[in-house]
Symmetry: C2
Subunit: 355 residues, 2 copies
């Protein structure tokens, strides 16, 4: 079965490709996976030889700790193909650093940098045909680490598996969303691990989001757990508010994920001379701005949707519609970011990473 | 492979038993599992026919949601055998209700009551030899539910698996523990899901506990995330404080697990005429009591250890030793609870459940 070896990665190629069975015009996000996956086990205190194997099911003991104690962290990144067929990642060092920051908070071992990058690039080369050119098309990449040690004892595991799987994605457009500003439930605690991209930060959001959906809202904007007076972030996006022509976003903290899209947007906005403030934002400030007509835009920022404009929000039983903009900041920054990602604009920040 | 069918459960018996390979005098908690497990899948909006099969690994797609978004809840309960060979559970209805309460908060489907109880009793009958008699010996039972739907999209899954695995356990005695009262990290948020027995509540505790261990403490007593002024619970136990002859424990809330051991101990203490108070407890009250010699005992209460006495604690860099007691409440309540569990005392509360 062993076909090739890169410097560090043992490669077992799939015998046949599934690519012809895939309708690339009608993709559901995160449902179809490419022909290969990257797998590396942590055993006996060290990461073993990484492998690329055909994508497929894996066997786990039912006592594997991830099922019981949620020791699991992940990343979300994308590969983009330009019109010449060149493939790019966007700031992958940020994802590499963040998965290790997440892992540290969950008492999981650090993953070696050269394994991460060599694994990623080798995988993308093998599954290169799955990355479709065209503005908005991409390959969504999901690195994740799970505790595999078979034993139901509530402490950090001594065995882990690092996996990378990839799923082709189309331009993500679900329409402008309506969001609910949460007053009761919380996403994360002071002193907790909300800043980590950890499995345990997501499961708790689904029930409150279900309740929000029953009220006609698609997503929640979380507020701080102590007072529910400050706006934090959405389920899988950081959030920006435009009051007048000023753009505001909450500072990151131990409760808020340090999003790559967010920090890239801030850097771009600063460079392009936009008035941007990173500071705590009170819900009442947004309500007041909405009432006096100064709240021009709200949008989410994250890898999956890039920028996701908000058309309306709910708070304390009131519904607020946002005004239509002729030249929304959301569209401007979405294009600016995507132009860099798809190699259509100069990369003055050095964010593109050629695979 | 199909051998027998109980009313609802399809039974596939193991061909041979592993029991002879097990050293029941030297068990590590949660490491060895019995010959069988209970498995029931939720697909197409309903729980399918439950099965009991030989214990063993299971196959999962790497995109199964539990690995990414932590949708996983569990229970911990024990089966006890008396000297006549009769097997008992302790308040299993509490565990059944709690796993569904946990599931609801994580947007997971409720598990049917008759599947739970018939699955559990059928499994215990099959693996009856694994339940060793003798005060302190037990079979630890781990029911759990995980999201199996293969797709990396951050929302509640539509496919789940309910599993019960069992692990023989000996009298749990790790010596009296030293605990650290936490000032910085937190276990759960107001409005979060700390009250649920959910995977995501555990992974975040391991790193702070590792830091505590480096300071010489084995466990953490968590304080409230807002102020760190109030004592909450330990990693897998609720906590009781004895000041003078008064026993105090924190009220349950959306941050604190409603422990079966805790509520049983409260009921016993009330019945036996102990002075017991359920109310918020300030750290400073405990420090003051420790300083003026009134803090007589601290102990944890949970299914695994029953009662776990604390011999010392740390707070803000100070170390406090607890005085030795001639007749500690911890030992009294441990015996009282175990006598009921092992059918050695009258069961005035109706807590025993004969299998
Ligand atoms: C909770 C949360 N906030 C924000 C983001 C956005 O981060 P990024 O821009 O790095 O994708 C994500 C990632 O998807 C997230 O899960
Ligand atoms: C966080 C937590 N608190 C308390 C307990 C004690 O609950 P019980 O007495 O039901 O075992 C547990 C269970 O092990 C737990 O995980």
């Amino acid at each position: 079965m062993k076909n090739t070896t890169s410097q560090t990665v043992e490669i077992h190629k799939a015998k046949t490709s599934k690519i012809d069975q895939v309708d690339f015009e009608n993709l559901t996000f995160g449902k179809i996976f490419t022909d290969h996956m990257f797998v590396c086990d942590y055993v006996d205190g060290k990461w073993q030889t990484p492998k690329i194997t055909p994508y497929g099911p894996m066997s786990f003991d039912p006592s594997a700790r991830v099922f019981h104690y949620g020791q699991a962290v992940f990343e979300g990144m994308k590969a983009y193909k330009d019109d010449n067929g060149d493939v790019f990642l966007f700031r992958p060092d940020e994802n590499y650093n963040r998965i290790n920051k997440s892992a540290e908070r969950l008492a999981m071992p650090e993953f070696p940098e050269h394994y991460f990058f060599e694994g990623l690039t080798t995988l993308l080369q093998l599954d290169n045909d799955w990355i479709k050119p065209g503005y908005g098309n991409s390959l969504y990449i999901r690195p994740f680490v799970i505790a595999t040690q078979p034993s139901v004892s509530a402490s950090e595991a001594n065995e882990y598996r690092f996996i990378i799987i990839c799923s082709p994605a189309q331009a993500y457009y679900s329409g402008d969303v309506s969001v609910l500003i949460e007053e009761k439930y919380s996403r994360s605690a002071n002193g907790g691990f909300g800043y980590a991209k950890a499995a345990g930060n997501y499961a708790g959001q689904f029930y409150p989001t279900k309740l929000a959906k029953e009220k006609g809202y698609q997503q929640i904007i979380w507020t701080d757990a102590n007072t529910h007076e400050y706006l934090e972030e959405a389920g899988t996006m950081n959030v920006f508010f435009r009051i007048g022509d000023k753009l505001i976003t909450a500072p990151v903290s131990d409760r808020i994920l340090d999003g790559v899209t967010r920090k890239s947007l801030i850097a771009l906005a600063e460079k392009q001379g936009y008035d941007i403030e990173v500071r705590p934002i009170k819900v009442e400030e947004i309500i007041a701005a909405a009432k006096n007509g100064n709240l021009n835009e709200i949008f989410g920022a994250g890898t999956a949707a890039v920028i996701s404009p908000v058309k309306a929000f709910g708070y304390k039983g009131e519904h607020y519609e946002l005004p239509k903009q002729d030249n929304p900041y959301a569209a401007h920054f979405k294009k600016a970011l995507m132009d860099i990602q798809y190699n259509k604009a100069e990369d003055t920040f050095g964010w593109r990473y050629k695979v």
